[in-house]
Symmetry: C2
Subunit: 190 residues, 2 copies
């Protein structure tokens, strides 16, 4: 997706070999026009699937999922990381390992929002080791729902998440895959 890659090149900031800051348009400030282009592109990539629900995770997946959902005409459900008194007691939950924080955290979805009748598209902003996407897939499995696929805005192709998920047979569509990066240069997969 050229518009996205141009945006990453022009407004992203690479820190060392692993950190890509895209806070100017994707996860702190949001470029809503870009998010619309991203939403349309996800719709194209999953056109042949009959999606009934989009699943994402707080916080930075929410805007992407909500804007994309306009093209799918389905509700969004976002998994919660932060415990809340307003969350149902009856939830599907699983542990996700955070490489940044070197520990597990729990993600939860109220059971009433995922059912055996659902065909779920998972959307998120980033994929590196793929742990969040795998955790979300587990919630879909726990509910007995079908997983239609996973859509990611930026995949760090030099980390293993994408490979693990593609080899598992799940349809994974990443709009920009970075094969390597260094301060001043980003190499996208063709």
């Amino acid at each position: 997706m050229k518009l996205l890659k141009d945006k990453i090149r022009n407004e992203g900031e690479v820190r060392g070999k692993h950190i890509l800051k895209v806070d100017r348009f994707l996860n702190h400030q949001l470029d809503v026009e870009l998010l619309n282009a991203i939403g349309k592109e996800f719709k194209n990539r999953f056109e042949e699937e009959t999606i009934t629900k989009i699943l994402t995770i707080e916080a930075s997946g929410i805007a992407i999922a909500a804007i994309a959902a306009q093209y799918f005409n389905v509700p969004v459900v976002f998994a919660k990381k932060v415990p809340s008194q307003n969350l149902d007691a009856d939830t599907y939950e699983t542990d996700v390992f955070s490489f940044t924080k070197k520990k597990n955290y729990k993600i939860r979805v109220a059971k009433k929002f995922l059912s055996r009748e659902d065909k779920v598209l998972i959307l998120d902003d980033f994929m590196a080791q793929g742990r969040a996407a795998i955790g979300l897939s587990e919630l879909v499995n726990l509910a007995g729902a079908d997983l239609a696929g996973i859509g990611i805005v930026i995949e760090k192709g030099f980390q293993e998440g994408g490979q693990i998920i593609r080899e598992s047979g799940v349809k994974l569509e990443s709009l920009a895959i970075i094969d390597s990066m260094n301060e001043g240069s980003i190499k996208f997969r063709k």
Copy 2:
């Protein structure tokens, strides 16, 4: 806003006198069609203002702000509650008191996203004591930006936030104001 009030009556759940669960459409599952109607209504209510940026707070304000921003053609910035290695060191920050958790938490925005040239609209899902909205207003003040106003989806009119903000002279538009509630009944302000 009739559509919203009907939705609250039909799909909201009142727990005791203070807790209103709207997880079916506003802050866990998201009804994106309703969010679009909400976004249009905010545009109507703030039509005479020249907004340059929408400011909200993670997590449940993000979808509302992103969808509404389509009608204003401006970027969204969401304040962070959770510390992140990807956040700039150079931030505006302030403390917000949480009545639920009975302690302060910090909210932060990278300085580069708010400037003296900005005219900011604050949007959020709920207002009760108003502490989050007041905290966001402080970030706007710290940046030297103008506050165009505050838009809230559901105001608990029986708590003091709305009154404090209106008396301070800030334009506050709440799409549904609840004057009292009990299990089985919700009284909206006319």
